[in-house]
């Protein structure tokens, strides 16, 4: 009697352990604000665990660029099954490092303003870069040329340490090409109050009144409107068009459980995931019709033209664009 009780207990705990071990774990690497309590992470986790009979775990690693570095650092020994939150400017580097495997999905259900055709990555959200300002700002510039000619002050991010900073670089490069980009940057030099390491610092400076405008997204005013019920912010529409940031997810070549990873990729473009995006990540969902967007998103500016480099195009122009930027602003 005395002997059997612990034996039974041990047996039970083995069974429990085995059952526990059978719950597969899906590890998703993402950026900080996605996984935070206020980001999409918690709701996405709940919704996916309901259908997958698995344990979804997020690992947050700074921003999108840091995410890529982390994966390259870990190489083939990475625990990650899914990477969520690279953007089109980083895809080429991920491909070059042979980190990914094809997702095998078709892109017909997407609601992006551009065609999508990438074997390894699927978009989950997107947005337009834009200069955000207070409604009270007078003589709002409507192009980079007007901005350069004005004395409106701006805060931007450093393209060497932040993804929006890199986006701005690509924006000017796409709109003006090699020849005129330098000219535009030289014109902008006296509008730039300062350059920050990341988005948070820049947005904070803007809110504190250090500058008239800040490089952010056309969707930023939606946060103020919906979460703070403050309609005093808006974004300036630029006639040359707005550069897009498309955020993507993909399956790592080293994924332990490719089937579960595949299931997540399909979940990523399903309504359960997509509906969470607008009011947690404050971006446009990549696969949700416009009428499914929350109230408030209809007040945002709609750029007439979407600018974006292909992932290889972005990789090709980056180095030169960076040198141009550095020269113009170091004067």
């Amino acid at each position: 009697m005395k002997l059997t009780t612990p034996l039974i207990a041990a047996g039970l705990s083995t069974i429990a352990g085995a059952a526990f071990a059978q719950t597969p774990v899906l590890t998703v690497y993402t950026y900080d604000s996605f996984a935070s309590d206020w980001g999409p992470g918690p709701q996405v986790e709940l919704a996916f665990e309901e259908i997958c009979e698995c344990d979804l775990q997020f690992t947050a690693t700074g921003d999108g660029a840091a995410l890529l570095s982390r994966l390259r650092l870990e190489g083939s020994r990475s625990d990650a099954d899914i990477v969520l939150g690279l953007d089109t400017n980083l895809i080429a580097a991920a491909d070059e490092a042979e980190l990914m495997q094809p997702h095998g999905m078709d892109a017909t259900g997407l609601t992006l303003p551009i065609e999508w055709d990438d074997a390894n990555f699927m978009p989950f959200d997107w947005g337009y870069f834009a200069f955000v300002h207070r409604q009270t700002l007078e003589d709002v510039p409507n192009s980079f040329e007007e901005l350069a000619a004005s004395d409106v002050s701006i805060v931007i991010q450093d393209p060497r340490s932040s993804t929006p900073g890199l986006g701005l670089l690509m924006w000017v490069q796409h709109a003006y090409g090699d020849d005129r980009a330098a000219e535009i940057w030289e014109g902008l030099a006296d509008n730039v109050v300062t350059v920050t390491p990341g988005w948070s610092e820049a947005y904070g400076l803007f809110l504190d009144g250090e500058a008239d405008m800040v490089l952010s997204y056309t969707t930023s005013p939606a946060y103020h409107l919906i979460a703070e019920e403050d309609d005093s912010y808006t974004a300036a529409p630029f006639t040359e068009g707005h550069y897009m940031q498309v955020e993507v997810g993909g399956i790592l070549a080293t994924a332990d459980n490719p089937e579960l990873a595949q299931q997540f990729m399909e979940f990523m473009v399903s309504p359960a995931f997509q509906e969470v995006i607008p009011t947690t990540n404050w971006m446009y969902p990549a696969a949700l019709p416009e009428d499914a967007l929350p109230d408030g998103f209809n007040t945002l500016i709609q750029p007439e033209q979407s600018l974006i480099f292909s992932s290889t195009g972005a990789a090709e122009v980056r180095e030169d664009a960076l040198a141009t930027w550095q020269n113009a602003l170091s004067q």
């Binding site: 900080d32 700074g62 650092l73 020994r77 340490s161 300062t194 610092e201 947005y203 504190d208």
Partner: protein, 521 residues
């Protein structure tokens, strides 16, 4: 002149072993990065520009911080007033603030829509522009003036009161005091203070960028960041990491060449007394200096508090959990830092390998936390999951960061304790633990408390390594604050900044105050 024979104790031998371990923990990761990169990659012209700017701003920042600290430390050493110790603790606050909180505070005062510019606008005067080299130096002085003051103040407080009484009875004038006491103590303490602040400023990156105004204000640390994050060029990151080490070694050699040990002879170790020739003018001067320093250092803190205090009670639970995690981490990291520093300081006090040991300590300020973090990642990864170890690794790196400050505070005090009490202890045959407890530790109490306070506060404010390794549920308070900012929750982030500031300051005050028992009899 032959040196008196020094008994090498077990504790001192431990100091040697620890020093070796520290060097390995700092240089090992650098080697790991180079190894993983399969060689170094050459520097670009932009990197050279970054090196030049780094040296320039760090030199200017160190010089201005130390020069400004001289009258402040002097005034604090000569004056006794109600609330003096609280004043000293508060003055220390900027140094232990996380950079982003300090910048928020400075901008509230000196920024475009800050208090000063609003006032200037009100009277129709021009505006001041904080962005540029001026802003970088201003911010670095704001952050480092407190440290410079404290380092120099240790020098003044080390003058035995018997000496001051003797000077009074000899009717010394102010210029005699300068010649016999103040110049020698400055010659002994200034090079070290300059060096430490220079090195701290070389690794600056967020301050230099935000207040520098743009790419012209690129530092080596930002170049490392770029090489690592965007280019994943580990070879270049490692090369730049080596450049930082070389800057450190060069500056260290320079400072060591000029540093002289202060020799005041033995005293009975009473607290400092009223100085001779204390004129009305000297009193007014000190008052003005203390008022100016207090205003400069405290107004930005008040501004941060004023903006965030309203949000403190509405902060989400996760912020408080992060705060608890940070406090625990800070205490562990402080224990580790003190455990490492004490034997090393005692070894130095035994006249063994002084320059070498100080160099070891300084090395950890100069190397890039990003390179060390990445290197540790590379080393740990094949053995264990670095994410599971994120808090221990963060604690270790935080302890290393605090080590040089502890050593700087402890080494002169340990040397002085040996010099003043050593002979007596020898004569009494005190060795080992008894010597430590009765002769040495009582004289280390003040610098030990100061150093431990710094270590704790640094660890509270650190955002370097945890960001590289972080896993959900392991956020520290600074990381939590950044995430609040990143999720548009500016009000909550400002509230978190107030909590962070209060906890950093509180921990520093507790340690520093705990060590001052009986200090002002």
């Amino acid at each position: 002149m032959a040196k008196r024979a020094q008994p090498i104790t077990g504790l001192q031998a431990t100091g040697g072993v620890f020093a070796l371990l520290v060097v390995l923990t700092i240089l090992g990761p650098l080697v790991a990065v180079i190894w993983r990169a399969e060689g170094l990659t050459d520097l670009r012209p932009a990197d050279w520009a970054a090196i030049r700017f780094t040296l320039l701003q760090a030199a200017l920042s160190a010089l201005v911080s130390c020069l400004a600290a001289i009258p402040v430390a002097r005034a604090l050493a000569r004056r006794r007033f109600a609330g003096r110790s609280a004043f000293i603790a508060l003055l220390g606050a900027p140094f232990i603030l996380p950079v982003i909180v300090a910048v928020m505070g400075l901008l509230a005062i000196f920024g475009r829509s800050g208090w000063i510019n609003s006032a200037l606008e009100g009277i129709g005067a021009g505006t001041i522009e904080i962005y540029g080299l001026f802003g970088v130096v201003l911010a670095h002085v704001f952050l480092n003036l407190p440290l410079a003051t404290r380092l120099l103040l240790q020098g003044w407080l080390a003058i035995p009161s018997e000496r001051i009484r003797l000077a009074r009875s000899l009717n010394f004038q102010q210029r005699d005091m300068r010649r016999h006491f103040e110049w020698p103590l400055l010659a002994a303490t200034l090079p070290g203070a300059l060096l430490v602040i220079f090195l701290i400023c070389t690794t600056s990156f967020a301050v230099a960028l935000i207040l520098g105004g743009g790419p012209a204000a690129t530092t080596v640390e930002l170049a490392i960041y770029q090489a690592f994050r965007f280019d994943f060029d580990l070879g270049r990151a490692a090369y730049l990491g080596l450049v930082q080490v070389m800057i450190c070694v060069g500056a260290g050699l320079l400072a060591w060449r000029f540093a002289r040990a202060s020799q005041f002879g033995a005293g009975l170790d009473r607290p400092a007394m009223r100085w001779p020739d204390d004129t009305q003018g000297a009193r007014r001067f000190d008052l003005a200096v203390l008022t100016a320093a207090g205003t400069f250092l405290l107004l930005p803190l008040l501004a941060v508090a004023a903006e965030g205090v309203g949000a403190v009670f509405g902060l989400p639970l996760s912020t408080w959990e992060a705060a608890l995690r940070s406090v625990t981490l800070a205490l562990a990291s402080t224990a580790l830092a003190v455990g490492l520093a004490l034997p090393m300081a005692l070894l130095t006090a035994g006249h063994a390998a002084r320059a070498g040991l100080e160099g070891v300590g300084l090395l950890s300020i100069a190397v890039s936390p990003l390179v060390v973090g990445t290197g540790l990642f590379i080393i740990v990864f094949p053995i264990a999951d670095p994410v599971a170890l994120s808090l221990p690794i963060t604690g270790l790196v935080n302890a290393l960061v605090a080590l040089p400050f502890l050593l700087r505070a402890l080494i002169p005090a340990a040397a002085a304790a040996e010099a003043t009490q050593g002979r007596l202890a020898d004569a009494l045959g005190m060795r080992g633990a008894a010597r430590l407890r009765h002769a040495i530790l009582p004289r280390l109490r003040r610098p030990l408390g100061f150093g431990a306070g710094l270590a704790a506060a640094f660890s509270m404010g650190d955002l370097g390594v945890i960001a590289l390794f972080s896993a959900p549920g392991q956020e520290t308070l600074p990381l939590e604050m950044y995430r609040l900012f990143g999720s548009y929750r500016t009000d909550d982030a400002q509230g978190a900044a107030v909590v962070l500031m209060s906890l950093s300051l509180g921990l520093f005050w507790l340690f520093d105050q705990g060590a001052r028992v009986n200090a002002a009899a």
